[in-house]
Every structure is written in structure tokens, then in C-alpha cells.
């Protein structure tokens, strides 16, 4: 079977070009001097300058970042608990319901999640008076909920690979489950926690549909601003904004990948030392 030019390799090449070309074009055209998006009129960074003059946009970026940091942190904590109880606790009452509630948000259409959470908040506020207003808090709760599902999947796969005998050894030597968890389990799954945090962070930063449902008049996130300007058509300013967003995400993804690779290497080295000592 030819390795270089068979059908599947051509498909892979085509697929990768298909995935990257549109973003590449977007980045190039963000440096276009012309207001007309499709006519090239020389190199310019003026659209980036205009971005920083847009107060509404800066506000939205800050709101989004604040929500994303809080949502990712809470989601990693809840996700670690969920992953731990799914992998280490065996059978407990309500396990099936719980694991369904963890996996369903991964595929549930955003419109359904957004609508149901909004109606929940409205019902709560008419019956018990909380939350008083919809805004950052309600967006945050919504984001924590779907990010927890993704975090659980990422952390769970690491917990499953982890050698349980190390935890058992610590407990045999008298460490409490809590201490074992913090001294043994957490450091071992730390790279997965980092990637779960970064994944949750980007998911929260990116969410448009759910945020639109549960937000109030005072709080506008970045995707909501982008969506309302994109609906009017293509503009060089949005291209510049998009380029900055692509840059940030690539950086975050690179860090996540680097952390995971470093952890793998460290583990491999540790095993090699163990084998040598034996």
C-alpha cells in the first residue's frame, strides 16, 4: 500500500487545508488598509487601533474574561469531584442519573439549555426572589453548568489511566482519603486539570447562544457584541478582533499541549528510573 499518495492521505491534506485556510485568510485581511474587505489596498494596522477605541467592545471583553475565569475555576472543581466519584466510588444511588446529567450537556443543543435555564431563573426569581436580576451571575451559573460536563470528561480520562495502587499505598500507610487526594491524586492529574481549565475557559469565552438567553440588559459578553456586528456583514474591524482571538486561543491550546507533553515525559522518566532501580 503506497504511503505517500493514497486516498486517505490526500483527504487528510485536504481536510487540514480546509480547516486552516479560512482562518489564515481572515488573519491576512485584518491587515488590509481598505474598508472594502475583498480589495487589497496595502498593509495597515489601523483596524487594531480602532478596536482599542471601542469602549463597548472593551467592556464586553472584560465581562467575558471575568466570567470565563470564574466559570473555568468552578467547573474544574466540580468536574474533579464528578470525575472522582464516577471513577472511584463504584455504585451509588442515582449513578445513572448523574452520569446522564454529565454527558447530556456535551451534545444538548445550546438553544434548549439556554431556554431551560432562563425559564428556571425566571421561575426562581418569581417564587423565592433570587436571582433578582439576570446578568453576570446567571451567565456564570449557566457557563459553570456546561463547562463542568467538559471538565469531567477531560479529568475522568486521566483518572482512569492513573495507577490506583499509589492511592491505595498512601491509604495503607495511614493517610486519610482527603490527604491522599490532595497529596497523591491532585499532583498526578494536574495536567488534566490544567487542560480542563483551559478548555472550559475557551468554551465560556466563546458561548453566544446560552449567554444570550440568560443575560440581562446590563451585561453583554464579547460573542454577543461580535454577533450583532457580524449580522450587518463583514467588516475589517471584526477581522482584526478575530485575529486577536485566534492568537489568544492558539496560545492557550499550545500551553495545554505543552503541559500535557511535559507531564507525559516526566511520567516516562519516572518509570525508567523505577525500572533501572529494580
Amino acid at each position: 500500500m503506497g504511503r505517500k499518495t493514497n486516498f486517505s492521505n490526500i483527504a487528510l491534506g485536504f481536510g487540514l487545508v480546509f480547516l486552516y485556510l479560512p482562518m489564515f485568510i481572515l488573519v491576512i485581511y485584518s491587515f488590509n488598509a481598505s474598508r472594502l474587505v475583498t480589495v487589497w489596498a496595502g498593509f495597515s494596522t489601523k483596524w487594531y487601533g480602532e478596536l482599542f477605541k471601542d469602549d463597548q467592545l472593551i467592556d464586553a471583553v472584560l465581562t467575558s474574561l471575568e466570567i470565563a475565569v470564574c466559570a473555568a475555576t468552578a467547573a474544574v472543581i466540580l468536574g474533579t469531584m464528578s470525575a472522582y466519584l464516577l471513577n472511584r466510588f463504584g455504585k451509588f444511588r442515582g449513578r445513572t442519573l448523574f452520569s446522564s446529567m454529565i454527558t447530556a450537556p456535551l451534545v444538548m443543543p445550546d438553544v434548549i439549555i439556554g431556554l431551560s435555564l432562563l425559564l428556571m431563573f425566571v421561575s426562581l426569581s418569581t417564587s423565592i426572589g433570587w436571582p433578582e436580576d439576570r446578568g453576570m451571575l446567571t451567565i456564570l451559573i449557566a457557563h459553570i453548568t456546561f463547562c463542568t460536563a467538559y471538565s469531567t470528561v477531560v479529568i475522568s480520562s486521566r483518572l482512569r489511566e492513573m495507577d490506583v495502587s499509589i492511592e491505595e499505598a498512601a491509604m495503607d500507610l495511614g493517610a486519610s482519603p482527603l490527604k491522599t487526594f490532595f497529596v497523591i491524586t491532585i499532583p498526578t492529574i494536574a495536567p488534566a486539570l490544567a487542560s480542563a481549565w483551559l478548555l472550559s475557559f475557551t468554551l465560556s469565552l466563546d458561548d453566544l447562544v446560552i449567554s444570550s438567553f440568560v443575560s440581562g440588559p446590563g451585561s453583554t459578553t464579547l460573542p454577543m457584541v461580535v454577533f450583532s456586528s457580524v449580522r450587518l456583514g463583514v467588516s475589517p474591524k471584526v477581522n482584526a478582533l478575530a485575529t486577536l482571538m485566534i492568537l489568544c486561543v492558539s496560545l492557550a491550546a499550545f500551553i495545554a499541549w505543552w503541559l500535557a507533553r511535559r507531564a507525559d515525559r516526566a511520567q516516562r522518566d519516572a518509570y525508567q528510573i523505577m525500572e533501572r532501580d529494580q
Partner: protein, 308 residues
């Protein structure tokens, strides 16, 4: 010594029991409150009357003559059944999601196959390369296609420069653009589960088949393809289910011919402010998706929870 150890262990057991309850309780209650109960509220409001009030729907429970009566309004569902717009939007969504998934599979399977066959040192880099676009903003990726597919966009300019066409092709705001956007946005979700499956495939089975005289094509259809079934199912569900409820792609790339239920629900809610009808639309959509979602959950459960 023994006694101390015994005391310590019973103390730990008590602590462990409390800890166990907290670890189960906190995420459980969170998901119950913010994921499960909201669906019941949607169900409840789908039976309410639309009212011009805050919130814009009636209460199901009425207190009259010292008795509580439950007023259920099936009108919202009858309304959906009555208006052909909604039926064609559901069918339209299913059609677009089905063919979108099929296109993703046709492009994604060979990609995953090539990745699994690539030299080992390349595999993790290829995986990152496929995954990276799905980390960048969904909205931005769809927006990028608006600039490419427009009448005076890059694709048309390029084709006219080549001399293939002399009139710009109308692609943006048609279903073709919706399909391009769907495949573009969801391709990584198709490739990765199939790749994860193919990379675990036992190569000796294929060698055995070849030794016994099977041609490569026969080998693929009788061994590789059936063995990667679970990857294909997982990938297809990850694409199909969200695609049915897609809002952003039909709004930005689709046109008036694109009838999709997510878009209709969005308009019903934000433009018409008809919350009960929007709830009924969501309930019917959930009912349609229930079978694939349960299917997906069952396939995930094996991976999530180990063997228990």
C-alpha cells in the same frame, strides 16, 4: 499499636463517609438544579398561556373557590401541529443535520484513517492540528466563511480570475453555505472519535486477512470498517445532535430557504417574545433528539465510568 490503628481507621471511616457524601452531593445537586429541573420547568411552561406580563406566561395552578386547579393548555402544541412552518422547520433541521453528518463522515473517516496510519511521532501533532480549530471561536470561524462565500468574496473572485465562471455564484445565504459551515465547524468532532478507535485497531487482524488472500478493499470493508463502528457512531452523534439545534450557522450563512428549528425557536423567543410556544418547540425538539441522546449517553458511559 493495633488499637491505635483501629481507632484511626474508624475515625477515617467517619471522615470518609462525610467526604463521600459531600463529593457526591455538591456536583449532583448543582446539575439537578441547573440542568435537570430546568427541563421540567420548560415542560410546565409549554402548557401555559401566553400573557402580556412579566413573566409573559400564565400560572398552571389556579386558586379558585378554595381549591387548586391545574390548567393545562395544549394549544401551544396544537398551534405547532397546525402551522406547516414548524413541521417543515423540524424536517429541514433533520435533513440538514443528516446530510451535514454524512459529509463530515465522508471527509472525516479518511482523515482519521490517514492519521492512525501516520508514523507514531506525527500522530500527536496531527491530532492537535485537527483539534486546534475547534478551540477558536465558533462565531469567528463561521464569520470567516461569510467573507469567502460572498458574491464579491474571495471564492468568486478566484474562480472568475481562473476563468471558470463569468458570473459570481450565489453561495452565501443558501443551504450550500449552511452545509459548508456545518462540516467546517463539526469536522474535528467526527475525526477524533474515529481516530481514537482506529489507532487501537489490532493490525494483526488485517495482516491475517491479507495472508488469507483478501484484497485491500475487501479488507477495509470486512475488517477495518466494522471494527471502527463505535467510533463512527460516537462521531456521528457528536455532529448530528448539536446540528439539529444549530442557531448561528443558519442565521449567518443560511438564507430564507434555510428553515431550521433552532433559528425559528430563537426568533419565537427573542422577536415574538412568545415563551410558551418557544417552550413547546424546545420540548418537541428534545423529544426528537431523545433517542440519539440516550444512545450517545450509553456509549459514553462505558468510557466515563470505567467498568462499574
Amino acid at each position: 499499636m493495633m488499637l491505635r490503628k483501629l481507632q484511626a481507621s474508624s475515625c477515617h471511616e467517619l471522615q470518609a463517609d462525610l467526604g463521600r457524601r459531600a463529593v457526591i452531593g455538591i456536583p449532583f445537586l448543582w446539575l439537578l438544579l441547573f440542568f435537570f429541573i430546568p427541563f421540567i420547568i420548560v415542560l410546565k411552561i409549554s402548557f401555559a398561556y401566553t400573557e402580556i406580563a412579566i413573566p409573559p406566561y400564565s400560572d398552571l395552578l389556579e386558586y379558585a373557590d378554595e381549591a387548586v386547579t391545574i390548567v393545562l393548555n395544549f394549544g401551544n402544541y396544537l398551534f405547532l401541529a397546525d402551522d406547516p412552518l414548524y413541521l417543515s422547520a423540524y424536517l429541514g433541521s433533520l435533513e440538514v443535520a443528516f446530510f451535514g453528518t454524512l459529509w463530515c463522515l465522508l471527509l472525516g473517516y479518511p482523515m482519521a484513517y490517514a492519521m492512525a496510519r501516520a508514523p507514531r511521532k506525527w500522530q500527536s501533532a496531527l491530532m492537535i492540528a485537527v483539534l486546534l480549530p475547534s478551540w477558536t471561536s465558533f462565531l469567528i470561524r463561521i464569520y470567516a466563511w461569510m467573507g469567502i462565500l460572498r458574491n464579491n468574496g474571495l471564492l468568486n473572485n478566484f474562480l472568475m480570475w481562473l476563468g471558470v465562471i463569468d458570473q459570481p455564484l450565489i453561495i452565501l445565504n443558501t443551504n450550500v453555505a449552511v452545509y459548508i459551515g456545518l462540516v467546517y465547524a463539526y469536522l474535528p468532532f467526527m475525526v477524533l472519535p474515529i481516530y481514537a478507535n482506529l489507532v487501537k485497531l489490532d493490525h494483526s487482524l488485517i495482516e491475517a486477512a491479507q495472508d488469507l488472500g483478501a484484497r485491500p478493499v475487501e479488507c477495509f470493508f470486512r475488517i477495518t470498517l466494522p471494527l471502527s463502528k463505535s467510533g463512527i457512531i460516537a462521531g456521528s452523534m457528536l455532529v448530528f445532535i448539536p446540528a439539529v439545534g444549530e442557531v448561528v450557522i443558519p442565521q449567518l450563512l443560511g438564507g430564507p430557504e434555510t428553515l431550521m428549528i433552532g433559528k425559528i425557536l430563537w426568533q419565537e423567543f427573542f422577536n415574538n417574545r412568545d415563551w410558551p410556544v418557544a417552550s413547546a418547540l424546545a420540548m418537541v425538539m428534545l423529544l426528537i433528539l431523545l433517542v440519539p441522546i440516550v444512545f450517545f449517553n450509553n456509549s459514553r458511559q462505558k468510557e466515563l465510568g470505567g467498568d462499574s
